[in-house]
C-alpha cells in the first residue's frame, strides 16, 4: 500500500494519540524482536558472507527447484541458486533503497515544509497546494512514471521511490511546521526577544522533525515495499543482482509448483515492514511518553 500510509498513520497517530489510556504492555516483546531482526538485516547488509557462504550468483542447473531443506534452507530457484543466499545478499540493496528513498523523500519534504511554513503567506498557500496535488498521485503511479523516465537501475529506483513517497512526508512536515510555528513555546521565545533564525533552529526544526523520526522509521519499510513493487513490474535492479522484489517477480511464474521462490523474498519484505512499523511505534510511544 501506502506511502500516504505512513504520513497518514503516523501523522494522525502523532497528532491525535495524546492521551490514549492504557497501552498494550504485552507487546513489549515485539519491539525487541523487531530490533533484533533489523540488526540481523544490518549484519546481512554489511557482511552477507558471514550469514551465507553460498554464492548467490552461482548457477547449478541440476539443483534447480530444490524445496527448502538442509542444504538449502529456503530452497533453490529455477537456476539452482540458493534462495537464502540471494535474500541475504539482496539485503544491502533493499536496505539501501529503503534508506536512500526515505532520505531523499525527507530532504524534499523538509525543504518544502520549511519553505511553506516560514516564508510568508504566499509560500504557505503555494506549498499547501503543491503538497495536496502531489499527494493526489498514487505513490505507485508516481514512482512508475519516474522509474520509467529515469531508466532502470538502483539510482533511478531510489529516486522514483523517494519522489513517490515524498508527498506524504511533505504533508506531514508542512502540517508540523505550521503547528509548531504557532506553538506556545515559539511565542514565548519571540516574547523573550529571540530572532527568527534562532527560533527556527532551536524550536521549529527540531520539534517539527520529532514525529518525522517515527514516520521515517516506518517509511524505510514502506520504501522497500514500493521499490519491490517497481521491481515486480520489471523496473528494478538489473539481473543477476539479487533483489527481493525482482526475485519475487521472477518466481511468480513458478508459484503453482515451487511456492518457495516467491514466499521467502516476500517474507523478507513483510518482516522488514513489520519490524520498522513496530519499532517506529515503540519509538513513538517513548516520544509521547516524554511529552504527555
Amino acid at each position: 500500500m501506502s506511502a500516504g500510509l505512513l504520513d497518514a498513520a503516523a501523522g494522525s497517530a502523532a497528532a491525535e494519540a495524546g492521551q490514549a489510556g492504557s497501552r498494550r504492555p504485552a507487546l513489549r516483546v515485539a519491539p525487541a524482536l523487531a530490533g533484533l531482526f533489523l540488526l540481523f538485516l544490518l549484519l546481512a547488509a554489511i557482511a552477507p558472507d558471514l550469514l551465507s557462504h553460498t554464492d548467490p550468483l552461482a548457477i547449478v542447473p541440476r539443483d534447480a527447484f530444490r524445496p527448502p531443506g538442509w542444504a538449502h534452507p529456503f530452497g533453490t530457484d529455477q537456476s539452482g541458486r540458493d534462495i537464502f543466499a540471494r535474500i541475504v545478499h539482496g539485503t544491502r540493496q533493499s536496505l539501501l533503497v529503503g534508506l536512500g528513498a526515505t532520505g531523499l523523500a525527507m530532504a524534499a519534504a523538509i525543504g518544502l515544509g520549511l519553505l511553506g511554513g516560514l516564508c510568508g503567506r504566499v509560500a504557505e498557500r503555494a506549498v499547501g497546494w503543491l503538497v495536496q496535488v502531489m499527494f493526489s498521485f498514487p505513490v505507485l503511479i508516481l514512482a512508475l512514471l519516474f522509474a520509467a523516465s529515469f531508466g532502470n537501475g538502483i539510482v533511478p529506483l531510489v529516486a522514483a521511490t523517494g519522489i513517490g513517497s515524498a508527498p506524504g512526508y511533505a504533508r506531514m512536515v508542512f502540517g508540523q511546521v505550521l503547528s509548531v510555528r504557532d506553538a506556545g513555546y515559539v511565542e514565548a521565545a519571540r516574547a523573550l526577544g529571540h530572532g527568527p533564525l534562532r527560533i527556527v533552529r532551536a524550536h521549529v526544526l527540531p520539534n517539527a522533525m520529532r514525529p518525522l523520526v517515527v514516520t521515517a522509521t516506518m517509511g524505510v519499510g514502506h520504501a522497500i515495499m514500493w521499490a519491490s513493487a517497481l521491481s515486480f513490474l520489471g523496473l528494478g535492479a538489473p539481473p543477476p543482482r539479487p533483489e527481493w522484489g525482482t526475485m519475487l517477480s521472477m518466481g511468480r511464474s513458478f508459484v503453482a509448483n515451487a511456492w518457495w521462490l516467491t514466499f521467502f523474498p516476500g517474507l523478507a519484505i513483510v518482516l522488514t515492514m513489520l519490524s520498522t512499523t513496530v519499532l517506529g511505534r515503540a519509538l513513538q510511544r517513548r516520544l509521547e511518553g516524554r511529552t504527555a
Partner: protein, 333 residues
C-alpha cells in the same frame, strides 16, 4: 517568520446560523473546484514531463516501434502532427491546448482513441477498487469493534493482526492467495475479468493491507474516543457497552479513516497496477504498465489524468461523507 501570527485566538463565533451561509458554501465549492483543476493540471504536467524524459524515441513509439520501419515522410508527418520539432514549452502549450479541447489523442500502441480505451478499462478497475474498499472497511470495523479494549489478549491479537495485515505487500499476498485458493485447493478461478468469483482473490489481496491500515487508524481514534467524557455520560445514562461503542464511539473513530479513504481510493487504483498484472485482469492499472513500457504518451497521460480525476471525485465524496458523520465541519469550514 512573520511577525504576526496568522492564527490568532479568534473570538468565539456566534452560534446562530448566518444568512451568508450559502454564500460561504458556494465560495467553498468554487475554490474546491479550482483546486481540483489544479490537481488535474499538475497531473498532466508531471506525466507530460515524465514521458518526455523517457529514454525511448517518441516518434518511433508513435509509429509503432522499430518493426514499423516508417518512411521518412511518415516520420516527418508525425513530427509535425505532434509538434515534436518545437521547443518543449511550445509542445507543452500545444498539448495543454489539445487537452482543453477534450482531445486526449489516440493511443500509439492500441490504435484507438484514448477516451475509448479509458471507457473500456475504467469500470473493471473501479469495480475492483470499490469492492476492495468495502471489504477493507468491513475487516477494519470487525477488528476494531470486536477487539478494542476487550480482554487484553483479544485486544493484542486484534492490533497484532492489523499490524501484520498492513505490512503485507499486495503483490505477495496476491501470489499467496493464487497459490492457495486457485492452484492448490482449486476453490476460486485464478483469472478473469467477468465473473464475480474471479473478483474475490484480487479484492482480498487489495483489501487486507488496506483494512489493516484503516483498522490501525480507526483503533487509535476509537481508543481516544473511548476515553472521552461523553462516553462516560452516555454510560451513566444507562447505555450498554455495545451501544456506546456503535452509537457514539464508532462515529468518532470513523473520522480519520474516512478522511483517509480519499487517499485510499488513489492507493487502491495505484496498487491495482500490480494486482491486475498478477491476476491478468483487465483494467487501467495493467493498461498503465503497458502504456509506460511502450512509451504510449497519450494513453499514459490519459490514465494518469483519469486516476487524478477519480481522486478528485473521491475527494468530494469523502468530504461529503465526512460532513455527514461530523456535521461540525460543515458548519465551521
Amino acid at each position: 517568520m512573520s511577525d504576526t501570527s496568522p492564527f490568532p485566538t479568534a473570538p468565539a463565533a456566534p452560534p446562530a446560523a448566518s444568512p451568508d451561509r450559502l454564500h460561504v458554501l458556494a465560495r467553498r465549492i468554487l475554490s474546491r473546484c479550482l483546486g481540483s483543476v489544479g490537481v488535474l493540471l499538475a497531473a498532466a504536467t508531471v506525466s507530460f514531463l515524465a514521458m518526455h524524459m523517457m529514454p525511448g524515441d517518441i516518434v518511433s513509439a508513435i509509429l509503432g516501434g522499430p518493426a514499423a520501419d516508417p518512411t521518412p515522410q511518415t516520420v516527418a508527418a508525425a513530427v509535425r502532427e505532434y509538434g515534436l520539432d518545437r521547443p518543449l514549452p511550445v509542445q507543452y502549450g500545444l498539448y495543454l491546448d489539445r487537452l482543453l479541447h477534450g482531445n486526449l489523442g489516440t493511443s500509439f500502441s492500441q490504435h484507438l482513441p484514448v477516451i475509448a480505451v479509458l471507457r473500456a478499462e475504467l469500470l473493471p478497475t473501479l469495480e475492483l477498487a470499490a469492492s476492495a474498499l468495502v471489504l477493507a472497511w468491513l475487516l477494519a470495523l470487525a477488528s476494531v469493534l470486536g477487539t478494542v479494549r476487550r480482554r487484553s489478549w483479544l485486544s493484542a491479537l486484534g492490533s497484532g493482526l492489523e499490524t501484520v495485515g498492513a505490512a503485507l505487500p499486495q503483490f505477495w499476498l496476491g501470489l499467496l492467495l493464487l497459490w492457495l485458493f486457485a492452484f492448490t485447493i482449486h476453490l476460486l478461478p485464478p483469472a478473469g475479468s467477468d465473473s464475480v468469483a474471479a473478483l474475490v482473490l484480487p479484492t482480498v489481496a487489495l483489501a487486507v493491507p488496506l483494512g489493516g491500515f484503516l483498522a490501525q487508524v480507526t483503533r487509535e481514534a476509537f481508543e481516544i474516543a473511548l476515553d472521552q467524557p461523553f462516553v462516560l455520560t452516555a454510560r451513566a445514562r444507562g447505555l450498554g457497552d455495545w451501544s456506546v461503542r456503535t452509537r457514539h464511539v464508532l462515529r468518532h473513530a470513523l473520522l480519520p479513516g474516512i478522511s483517509l479513504s480519499n487517499w485510499a481510493v488513489g492507493a487502491l487504483i495505484g496498487n491495482a497496477v500490480v494486482i491486475e498484472t498478477i491476476f491478468s485482469r483487465k483494467g487501467i492499472g495493467r493498461q498503465l504498465v503497458l502504456g509506460v513500457s511502450s512509451q504510449d504518451m497519450p494513453l499514459t497521460i490519459g490514465i494518469v489524468l483519469l486516476v487524478s480525476l477519480t481522486y478528485v471525485v473521491a475527494g468530494f465524496l469523502t468530504d461529503a461523507l465526512y460532513v455527514l458523520v461530523d456535521p461540525r465541519l460543515g458548519a465551521r469550514r
